[in-house]
């Protein structure tokens, strides 16, 4: 039920100096159920706007987003670019607040998977950015979402930490498959994570190409294979080079 049909005719906004900008124009995209999809596009092309539209945080647009066959609104987890934790609530409280019925067992197991059990009663201001990002991931997974939106969640993490958190993310996703929409401008990261890559143009944003990642999941840690795939992409889809 959680494949997503996106059909946005246009999304415009007016800047403070009253200039009208078109952020998205004629964007049509279907995301299959339980797929890990990476949206790759240049900075400022409107990827965050698209996620906000899907999450119903932004309703000022022309078009339609539909979810599967049913009309019931799916449960959406959103991992923002900044962790957006409540600084005055502890790590555990932050996770519990996102849940309608807080299940201690689920939270415990997620904290353990992310190796954060020892800091669960600490306040976010006392934690590193990497830890805060992992808590944001736990919060999103804890609600057991049908769709998970991720907006460059690993930006500004050092390479080893990012690799570790990416590994944990894939583990969690494989335990409980659901549709993930992952925004990034780092093509290597996208290839390492995704089933499918969607390349987006600069604003006004639209789809340039869609590519399936054929590297088996077991080989996604192999830098050489990722690099080879990247080079192949450039040969087959030369128009994506300008987007990166």
């Amino acid at each position: 039920m959680s494949d997503i049909h996106i059909d946005i005719q246009n999304k415009t906004y007016t800047t403070a100096d009253s200039v009208q900008h078109t952020a998205i124009a004629n964007l049509k995209l279907t995301l299959p159920e339980n797929n890990f999809v990476c949206l790759v596009g240049p900075s400022g092309c409107g990827k965050t706007t698209l996620l906000n539209i899907i999450a119903s945080l932004d309703t000022q647009y022309k078009g339609e987003i539909t979810f599967g066959q049913q009309h019931k609104k799916p449960k959406i987890g959103y991992i923002f670019q900044n962790p957006r934790l409540l600084p005055w609530r502890t790590v555990r409280e932050n996770i519990e607040l996102a849940l309608t019925y807080a299940s201690a067992a689920i939270i415990d197991s997620l904290l353990e998977t992310m190796q954060l059990t020892h800091i669960q009663h600490k306040y976010p201001e006392h934690l590193s950015l990497g830890m805060s990002r992992r808590i944001a991931i736990i919060r999103a997974f804890a609600i057991n979402p049908d769709i998970l939106l991720m907006d460059e969640p690993f930006v500004s993490l050092d390479a080893p930490t990012a690799r570790q958190v990416r590994g944990l993310l894939i583990d969690l996703w494989q335990q409980r498959p659901h549709t993930i929409l992952f925004v990034t401008h780092d093509l290597r990261e996208a290839i390492a994570l995704a089933d499918q890559l969607v390349f987006l143009s600069a604003a006004p944003m639209s789809v340039v190409s869609k590519v399936k990642v054929t590297i088996p999941r077991a080989d996604r840690n192999n830098e050489e294979k990722i690099e080879n795939f990247r080079q192949q992409l450039f040969t087959h889809y030369p128009d994506i080079i300008s987007l990166l």
């Binding site: 959103y78 607040l97 919060r139």
Partner: protein, 248 residues
């Protein structure tokens, strides 16, 4: 260093008393009694039951009017801070109410509603309310949009959003309104009591003024300052500490 820091407030307090004592000895006039005389009067007034009675009544008026002003002020302040149209519409009202002299509101309340307890409390509330509204409105305007979006996305609902996202952000503004409010309200209450009540601190001080009894005036003042300081020390400070324990 720590010991010196702790001793400093005591030392400065002793200095103040010494200056008072020296000045009183130098002037040698009933218009400035010695600290020891004032302390004696204070004790007499306490054991006679006069001071606790009047102080209690004034504190009662303070608590009632303060609670009403804070509750209404928070509600209106949040509404104005979150809604631009309302804010623009009522901005003039606020400016007008902020600038009406306290004395005018008090007299008008007594003229319109009679020399009653509720008129007295209403007068205090009207005086304090605009200040609370303005402070809380600024807080509500500065709410973090990112966190509000997060709350919407994770379907916090109204109650959860208010308790866990909005109220903690308003806390510093509420504390500022509380502190400035206490200081302002008790000064206004004394005028209210002076003009239209037959009990309370304001009434007593008016009486002492007519008798030219400076020692009693100072004794009552000391009692009141002690009470207000205790509120700060035993209620507001611990509250602040608990609410801000998450800060680095």
């Amino acid at each position: 260093m720590n010991l010196a820091n702790k001793a400093l407030p005591t030392l400065s307090f002793l200095l103040l008393i010494t200056i008072w004592h020296g000045l009183a000895l130098y002037i040698n006039d009933p218009s400035l009694p010695l600290p020891s005389v004032v302390l004696h009067v204070l004790w007499q007034e306490i054991i006679s039951g006069q001071l606790p009675h009047h102080l209690g009544l004034t504190l009662f008026r303070l608590i009632i009017s303060f609670s009403i002003a804070m509750f209404l002020g928070c509600a209106i302040g949040i509404a104005l801070g979150r809604n631009k149209t309302l804010d623009v519409f009522f901005d003039n009202w606020l400016v007008i109410f902020l600038n009406i002299p306290a004395l005018v509101t008090i007299i008008l309340c007594y003229v319109w509603f009679g020399l009653s307890e509720s008129a007295a409390i209403l007068a205090v509330v009207i005086n304090k309310l605009p200040n609370v509204i303005v402070t809380i409105r600024e807080g509500a305007k500065a709410l973090d949009r990112d966190l509000l979006e997060m709350a919407r996305c994770y379907q916090f609902g109204k109650r959860k959003t208010f308790l866990h996202v909005i109220w903690p952000q308003l806390h510093p503004f509420v504390m500022a309104a509380t502190r400035s409010g206490l200081a302002l309200i008790w000064k206004i209450i004394l005028v209210v009591e002076l003009l239209g009540r037959s009990d309370g601190m304001g009434y007593q001080i008016h009486l002492f003024f007519q008798l030219f009894d400076v020692a009693s005036i100072l004794a009552y003042t000391i009692a009141f300052i002690t009470v207000i300081q205790s509120i700060e020390l035993f209620i507001l400070k611990p509250l602040d500490k608990k609410a801000l324990r998450w800060k680095r």
